[in-house]
Assembly symmetry: C2
Homo-oligomer: 344 residues x 2
DNA sequence: ATTAGCACTCAACAACCTCGAGTGCTAATA
DNA sequence: TATTAGCACTCGAGGTTGTTGAGTGCTAAT
């Protein structure tokens, strides 16, 4: 049995109507609301075929049909109109994006807010910490009270790190200045793997007396510059409560499960990382393997800045979510974040 | 009509049983489970009195009784045993507290975690930023590329602040060093209101050439030391989902209201600040004036460190919450945080 | 190929009944 | 006088039954 144009129209009608009403869709409804020019009886026959093909299901005899996961998939892949979102929504997004802040955390929060309020689903984000090593812009040791100093390090991306360090009590301002100058001179502009053995030996030989301090300073410096190891992916999500407004989630137990699942960062990580695609991706119901979220769908897109992926953005909603609008919103948001239409 | 010992025992039985079972308590149950040595009939008479006094209510004819807000209040004020919490719970708390961290945020999170897991209610915290001005421990200007410098400031409480500042392009390392030394020399150990006019004039007169830089450095310094203005109270809460496990909150709409309310920082602030008491305080149902939380009770305690209040800790639960245990947990936790038994 | 017609199914809803936990009242009892 | 046994009464919870209506599948006519 094959899909023909009419079957597709009927499937589309079932999906659209169910997305809108959350009620099983009957043949009469389709015949009336979506003018295909055929009678309910004909539609019934077609629906029986669609059911046989596994695209729609009946919750029980004498109920209308609702889309199966496979049905949603067919809709998303072949039938869905890639809408433009409303101008006002687009304006809102573009307006909201403008308050760009320096703190990653705030930017992320802003994005989550925008998505949560425009879609009423549950947005989440994953940010990859910068993977590249950093190089040194400035290092300075400053004397505090006896035995204690402050190390200030500025990396090439203008990030500042401060560390208190222990120094021998007799260590004076001049010693610190000397160490600072030596380290600055030899290591400025270099990342950790640019540290050549002979340079380090050179430093140590010139700073025999301050060896201990140099040692600990270098250790800390290396830790700060070398981000590979402690690079962690940060996870954020918001608007879990939006789920509570969906008619399919009126059961407290169910909702509790879903929300508990979202609290688990590993799961959210899995959701967002599962698909290492470049484009936008949709996982419907059982297509992802998180049991507690099998009544949900997830749209994941890659979050770029100047063409470089720096994270993922996800949007969790009921399977009955408005895929078209959601994807359009994500699209607009992410393109604008990426600085205009430069993508693609 | 007065309370006598027997009425109190019956009220206590109603409260305790209802806290435990979440079901209206009948006269037979009391007679059987709480051996008062009298028959159900007698208990019925007494219960009628208690109802007349407004301490218990009947959800409907032919149901048992449940405590009214006033009944809970009487229980909390006069009847409740101030239990010791179980040794294992105490051990758990004391163990968990140990991982004290430097970041306020982490400490708070830790406390919220402890409360959430031990009580299964919804803990929240408010932290008053330090109100007092700080004094200067160290100030240093460090040269970056031409026209740009880094200002490092260490305050008396070892907090480090960094600011980039603009400097005239011809400004050299020596100028920066000079400015640093002068500011350090004259202002070290002082808070903003210790800045005497003649000292400032002195600085400016000696640093004519660097006036502009000194100006902006002083401005930033003042902002950093003078905390009064930007002192904001920070609000945290956790474990809102715990509410979902309570049998009285099986209605999604209700839960949604409650959780939305908690998202509102102003409300949480109000909850925690409403009572400017020193001791631990309990607000039951309508005693606090937040409509959406009138099915809940809130225990608020003052969070001290070395005898000084630095915030509040709250615990939100159903009216049917275990007041005795909750208060005991809070008590142990806060006393331990305050460094042993020093309080009172 | 389409559709009108019809018998059939089943969830949702309402009406009704029964059960039992719980009450208040009264009269007997200690 | 305080307590209690006894009893009639109330009412929610839960089960049964009947009705309704939306929806189906099948068949025969177009």
């Amino acid at each position: 049995m094959d899909m023909d144009s009419r079957k597709e129209k009927i499937l589309e009608a079932v999906v659209l109507d169910y997305i809108q009403t959350a009620e099983p869709v009957g043949s009469r409804t389709i015949s009336k609301k979506y003018n295909l020019g055929v009678s309910p009886a004909t539609i019934r026959n077609e629906m029986a075929d669609l059911e046989e093909m596994g695209l729609i299901v009946q919750p029980h005899t004498s109920a209308g049909r609702i889309p199966s996961d496979k049905g949603y998939r067919y809709y998303v892949d072949y039938l869905m109109q890639h809408d433009q979102i409303k101008k006002e929504a687009r304006d809102y997004i573009q307006e909201s994006i403008k308050k760009k802040t320096t703190e990653v955390e705030e930017t992320v929060n802003n994005i989550l807010d925008i998505l949560s309020t425009t879609t009423h689903y549950t947005p989440m984000m994953l940010i990859n910490e910068q993977q590249a090593d950093h190089s040194l812009q400035l290092l300075q040791l400053l004397p505090l009270e006896a035995g204690r100093a402050l190390m200030v390090i500025v990396t090439d991306d203008d990030k500042i790190e401060n560390r208190f360090i222990q120094i021998p009590p007799q260590f004076g301002k001049e010693d610190l200045e000397l160490v600072s100058q030596m380290l600055n001179m030899h290591l400025k502009g270099l990342s950790v793997d640019g540290w050549q053995k002979n340079v380090l030996e050179n430093i140590f030989s010139q700073l025999q007396r301050q060896k201990q301090v140099v040692d600990s300073a270098l250790g800390m410096l290396a830790g700060i510059l070398h981000k590979n190891n402690n690079s962690e992916e940060k996870i954020y999500y918001k608007g879990g409560l939006n789920m509570l407004t969906q008619p399919e989630f009126q059961d407290v137990g169910k909702v509790h499960n879903i929300l508990m699942t979202l609290e688990n960062k590993e799961v959210v990580n899995k959701i967002l990382n599962n698909n290492n695609i470049n484009e936008i991706s949709v996982k419907i119901g059982t297509e992802h393997d998180i049991p507690d979220l099998q009544d949900c769908s997830i749209i994941v897109a890659s979050y770029k800045n100047n063409g470089k992926e720096i994270g993922k953005v996800g949007l969790l909603g009921p399977k009955r979510m408005d895929y078209s609008n959601s994807m359009a919103v994500l699209d607009v948001l992410l393109k604008d974040l990426n600085g205009g239409e430069s993508d693609e």
